[in-house]
Amino acid sequence: MTRRSYLDCINAAMREEMERDPSVFLMGEDVSFNFMGSTKGLAEQFGPGRVRNTPISEAGFLGAAAGAAMVGMRPIVDMMIAPFLYPAFDQLVSIIAKSSYLYGGQTHIPVVIRAAMFYNIGTAAQHSDRPIATVMTIPGLKVVVPASPSDAKGLIKTAIRDDDPVIVFEDRSFWAESEDVPDEEYLIPFGQAAVRQAGTDVTIVGIAGGVTAALRAGERLRARGISAEVIDPRTLVPLDLDAILRSVAKTGRLVVVDICHDTCSVASHIAALVAERGFDSLRGPIVRVTTPQIPIPFSPAMERPLFPSADRVEEAAVKLVSR
C-alpha cells in the first residue's frame, strides 16, 4: 500500500495503461505542462507523440480523438475543465456517442474523456458547471464519477480498457484527499456501487462531491443515534441500481446528494427509479439535496451556500427519520 492523492491516482492510472498498451495516448490543452496537476511526468516518459498538447479547439480535438479511435488508437482526452465540453458538444453527442450504433456495430469508439469540475472556488458561472446529468442523458456514453483516490485509479484504468466512450468527471474537491492505495494492479468494474458506510435507518446516495457531504452528515447522524448507510454509485452509466434498492429495502428512506443543478439532476433520475421500483420499501418521500437552479455567482458569500453541504444532508435525513 502507498499513500496517494486523487491526482496521483489519476496520473498513475494513465501511466500504467500507457505503459501497458502503445495505442493509449493522451491529448488536451497543456497536458505536457501538467497545468492541472494530473499529467505530471507523462510527457517526459512518453514523448510529444503520445502526450499531445492541442490548440484551443475543443470540437476539433475531441472529434479527432473519435477518428483516431475508429482506426485503432485509444485516446484519453483531457478537457481540462468540464464545461469546455460545450464547444465540442456535437462531436460528443453526434459522433462519439452514436457512431457504434449508427453504423450497426462496424466501429466502436474507445475514447476516455476526462473532465475536471471546478466549483465553490470563485470561478463563476461559466467555469463552474457540473454537466454530469447533461451527459448522462445521452445514449451511448458511459459515465464515471470517482469520489476517492483509490476509486479514481481503478475506474480510470477500467475506462481506458473499455471499448466504448467513457466520460470521467473528476471532482476538484477530491484533489487534496489522500488514502492508502494497493501497489498491485487493480481495476474497478463499472456498475458496482460502494457502500462507504453501512447503516440501517436512512440511505444516503452521494454523487461525486456529494459523497463528502453524505459521509460528514453520516458521522453527525451517528452521533445523534441515527444510522446512515452511505452509497457511492461510482459509475452512473451503468448504474448499480440494485445496490441502492437493497439499501432502501433495509432503511426505507432515501436522500440523494447531487452537485448538479436541481432540474433533471442525477438525483432526480435515481429518485424516479427508486420510486418506481422500490416504492413498497419507502416509509417517506425521497429527498434530493442538489444545487439550486441558478447560475453560479462569483462572490463566495453567495456561492458557498449553494452546493450540497453536510448541514443540508443531515437536516434532510433527520426530517425523514422523524416522520
Binding site: A59, G67, S94
Partner: protein
Amino acid sequence: MSADEPDTGLLAECLRRMYRIRIFDTTLSQRDDLPSVGHMSVGMEASIVGACLALEPGDYMVGTHRSHGHPIGKGAEIGPLAAELLGKKTGINQGKGGSMHLSDFSVGSLGETSIVGSGLPVATGAALGITMKGESRVCLCFFGDGAANEGTFHESLNLASIWHLPVVYVCENNQYGELTAHADACAVRRIADRAAGYSMPGETVDGMDVTAVYAAVRVAVDRARAGSGPSLVETDTYRFFGHAGGPDRGELYRTRAEVDRWRERDPIGLLRARLLGSGMSEPDLDAIEAAERVRVDQAWKFALASPLPDPQDAYLHVFADPIPLS
C-alpha cells in the same frame, strides 16, 4: 500512369462507378417504399469518383448526409446500401443508420455523418491515428460548401496543419448550402483560398470533369502519403436534383436556366466523350451503362427480398461492451 493523365482502364472504372451512382440515386428517387427521402448525388458523380479513385483501397474516407455516392465511389457493394435505405436487417448498418449515414468500413468508408461539418474532425483524427501507427494510409474528407463555414472546418484544417496529418479535405462545392447560395453564405468566392490561412495547398478544379478531380486529388493524396501534410481541394460541381428528393422542378432558390446550363456539362456525358476520343466505342460505353443497370437492379432485388430487423434489434450496437439499460 502520371497523376495528370489517368489511363483508359482507370477512366473506364470511373465511368462504371459514376453510372453506378447515377442509376442508384435515380432509381432510388423513383421509389415510393422508402422510409425517408434521400439526398442524391446526381450531377456530382465526377467530384466523388475522381476523388475516390485517387485513393488506394486501404485509405480511409469520411463524408456527409449526401451519403450514397461516397461509399459507392469507394467501391462498396451496393446491395447492402440499398437494403440500408429500405431499413432492412441486411443493410450495411443493419438498418440503424439509413440514407444519411451510409458506410462500409470494409472499403475504408468510416461512415457518412449527417450533421454538417461533423466529419472534418473525424477525418483529421483518422489521419492522426494513421500517423501514430506509422502507416502510409491517407484519409479523405468529403464536405460541402456549407460546411466550409462551420467552426469544425477551421479547427480541423488548423489541427491537421500543425500536426502535418495525412488528410485530404475535398470540398464539393455544389453552389448551395441547402437552399442558400454559396455567394451569400461565404466570405470568400473560392473556398480553396482558405487553405492559405491554414498553411496548406489549396486548389479549385472543375468538378464536372472526373480527370481534373482525379488529377488534383491525386497530387494531394501523394503529398499526404509522402508525409508532407494536408491539402484542400475544392471541386466546382452541381446537383441536378433538389437538396433532397428527386429532379429539380424549378425551385425557389435557383432557376431552370441555371440547372439546364449545368446539365449541359453532365459529368457522365463529358467522360463518355473523352473515352470515345481515347478509342472506346459507343457500344462499349453503352455496355458499361447496361452492366451497371443490371447491378443496381440486383441490388434492389436483394434489398426487397431481405428481412426487416426485429424491433428488439434496436437495443443492439449501443456499446461494444454492452451494459444493462436502467
